[in-house]
């Protein structure tokens, strides 16, 4: 039953470009998809290990910058006489490098998380993101600072020397984002339904107890942050090669906030939560754009958030699940009664 629902969903998602002729809608979907991936990655940390990373955008941005730099090539004057020259690499290598780099930083933050939890973890991540932002802003030799890295190559798919396709167009980009999102979803689902996921949840619920039954806290926090960071990095790579510009504003706090909104409103610690939240809060600004003045768009956005929390405090997905459960149990109740008479 639920398998059929997922297949239907997939078929729907894959079919969109076939009938959706408005390219602008595809653009919005691509953009939303990228943020859905980022939100899913955040959910792994926030929803499953209970560690709120308010600097998640740092991983996203690191993935984006590394991917951009590797695909563009760069040179660094290390000393007066020695300049380190890095040649441009194919985009898919760049994309992987971005993921790996983000994962490495995830490892670093995960190690720090060994020491700090809760609010302290929050602030370490915020600080980390701010430091990374300031580095990207000030290390002009490498990142061009506020002048931004421009003319980044679009994604290229292909077999070297045989066949190659550069994704300038919306449709292939859409499929690319969709595939990456599905892969991330599957990985996260496998993870949380395993003993590794349970260890993470255990940490969230009761850390001393989890430790007492043999869960190595550091180990699992590091695993969670590495995987989460790598996925955020992948989202960043997609972003870079789709928008083809990257500047220090990518590290803005508001992006992390957006991800948090997506996760929590959708339902943290649920697999579908970040997707639902991501779609709603990814599309909302675009829908509002048509109707309201800029400030009003934001105000409506904020009010929508407040209302969601007021009426669905655990998020949309758990609320729907509950509703479905009650609905079903009511139905079976009445069915039983029917049978009885």
């Amino acid at each position: 039953m639920s398998r059929w629902i997922s297949i239907l969903w997939l078929a729907f998602l894959f079919s969109i470009p076939l009938w959706m002729i408005d390219l602008y809608v595809l653009h919005i979907l691509i953009n939303t998809g990228i943020f859905v991936i980022a939100a899913m990655s955040l959910n792994l940390l926030l929803g499953y290990t209970g560690q709120l990373s308010l600097g998640h955008v740092a991983f996203f941005g690191i993935g984006a910058y590394v991917s951009a730099l590797v695909s563009l090539g760069f040179d660094l004057e290390l000393t007066d006489t020695y300049t380190f020259v890095f040649d441009a690499k194919p985009v898919w290598i760049a994309f992987l490098s971005g993921i790996i780099a983000a994962g490495l930083f995830g490892w670093l933050i995960g190690r720090v998380a060994f020491k700090v939890r809760g609010a302290y973890f929050v602030i370490v991540t915020i600080s980390f993101a701010e430091v990374v932002r300031l580095v990207s802003l000030n290390w002009i030799d490498l990142t061009e600072g506020p002048m931004a890295l421009n003319n980044i190559q679009p994604f290229t798919l292909g077999i070297p020397n045989l066949w190659e396709m550069t994704l300038y167009q919306k449709i292939p980009n859409y499929y690319l984002v969709l595939v990456v999102a599905i892969v991330c979803y599957i990985l996260i689902r496998r993870l949380v339904h395993s003993r590794i996921g349970r260890a993470m949840i255990g940490l969230r619920e009761n850390e001393p107890l989890a430790t007492s039954v043999g869960v190595n806290v550091t180990h699992y926090l590091v695993i969670a942050t590495v995987i989460s960071a790598a996925m955020a990095g992948a989202a960043g790579g997609l972003y870079t090669h789709y928008f083809r510009i990257i500047d220090p504003d990518i590290f803005l706090f508001i992006y992390t906030v957006t991800m948090v909104i997506m996760v929590v409103s959708g339902g943290k610690g649920t697999l579908a939560g970040p997707i639902v939240g991501g779609i709603i809060f990814g599309l909302l600004p675009e829908i509002l754009r048509e109707f309201a003045a800029p400030e009003m768009q934001w105000i409506i956005y904020g009010i929508a958030m407040i209302l969601i929390v007021f009426f669905l405090p655990d998020g949309i997905v758990p609320a729907l699940k509950n509703w479905w459960k009650n609905h079903r149990s009511k139905r079976t109740d009445s069915a039983e009664m029917d049978a009885g008479t």
Partner: protein, 359 residues
């Protein structure tokens, strides 16, 4: 009775919202001027204004929307160089020309994007033009404090070059985050450098802070602001006595519209601006929106049809009497893919006895 749509991408919210709104107001004035005069090609023009939220990603989103959804064949935008640079690949992708009204980064016209038509000066142009007036300031050693973005850094490089060429030495160069309010650390450092003149490049808010905090720390440098958007009126009202004696490079001096190259155009614009009750201080920014839309309208008229490619071709030959001066384009950038650049006028004003004066 169909209209000709012109896309406008400006920062209407976020960090630089104030400026974006002024430019938009100027553009709307131009829109009504044109439509009152019967529009172009027998149709009225209609501005489709999108908010790029002071953010490059959103700037891309506005371009996507304007081009694919609203089907505009020409755009104006996107204020900051970063936003403009972000939009540029989209212009190539869809083949749509854009008039750039504010951005100052050299990169915009040198990167080989033939869809760019810039009416604002680059920092180099501004600096070069300042070079012709530099002697009157009697500078021996100059310090810089600039906002940490393409604009500030670009200006500091360009002006340093011009000053060095004149044999003037450069002391401390400090940057400040666009949102920073406490600049005392930078100023303490500048104080110990021993220069006599301080070049300031930033938004008017930060210039206000620089002026006030200089006074607090007893910094007696002569101040020259660059970038053209410093709205001396606002400085006078907000920094008070601290603004006294400061000099400002502008691209339009709304106090003296009659001394502009096209006095009637400038006067008409200033009058309309005031009539609409817009903030007078915004005029130093708002005129760009006007000039940009006027240029686009001229381009459409010359093209004879509302078609991107045709407009791009036609823009090369337009001559527009703008508020800043006469607008016409020269070629910049790699051969075969040149961008268009106008050479604007630069003015210097001084604040004397709480009033704006020509030096």
């Amino acid at each position: 009775n169909e209209t000709i749509k012109i896309g406008v991408s400006q920062p209407l919210t976020g960090a630089v919202a104030a400026s974006g709104n002024y430019v938009t107001q100027g553009a709307q004035i131009a829109e009504s001027f044109i439509n009152d005069a019967g529009g172009v090609l027998g149709k009225k023009i209609e501005l489709v204004i999108e908010d790029n939220k002071s953010n490059p990603k959103e700037a891309v989103a506005t371009a996507e929307k304007l081009i694919i959804r609203d089907k505009v064949s020409v755009m104006m935008g996107a204020w900051s160089s970063t936003y403009t640079l972000a939009v540029m690949p989209k212009l190539m992708e869809y083949g749509v020309p854009m008039v750039v009204e504010t951005s100052s980064s050299g990169k915009i016209t040198t990167s080989g994007n033939p869809w760019i038509f810039r009416i604002s000066p680059t920092s180099q142009m501004e600096a070069k033009s300042f070079g012709t007036k530099v002697d009157q300031f009697k500078i021996k050693k100059a310090d810089f404090i600039v906002v940490n973005n393409d604009w500030g850094r670009g200006a500091s490089e360009a002006f340093q070059e011009v000053l060095k060429a004149k044999g003037i030495s450069v002391g401390t160069v400090e940057t400040m985050d666009a949102k920073a309010t406490d600049l005392s650390a930078q100023l303490a450092k500048i104080k110990s450098s021993g220069g006599d003149t301080l070049f300031v490049t930033s938004g008017v808010e930060q210039i206000t802070l620089v002026l006030k905090q200089m006074k607090e720390q007893r910094l007696n440098h002569q101040v020259i602001t660059t970038g053209g958007s410093s709205s001396p009126d606002q400085l006078i009202s907000q920094a008070g006595a601290a603004a006294e004696g400061s000099n400002h490079l502008l691209f339009f001096a709304p106090w003296f519209p009659e001394s502009a190259p096209n006095p009637s155009v400038a006067t008409k614009f200033v009058n309309e601006w005031n009539k609409r009750g817009h903030n007078f201080a915004g005029l130093t920014e708002g005129f760009r929106g006007h000039d940009g839309i006027m240029t686009i309208a001229a381009g459409i008229k010359a093209a004879g049809k509302n078609d991107s490619k045709a407009i791009q071709q036609a823009l090369w030959d337009v001559k527009v009497k703008g508020v800043n001066g006469n607008i016409e384009f020269i070629k910049q950038g790699p051969a075969g893919k040149e961008s268009a650049q106008n050479v604007p006028n630069v003015y210097v004003v001084t604040i004397k006895d709480g009033k704006i004066a020509l030096p």
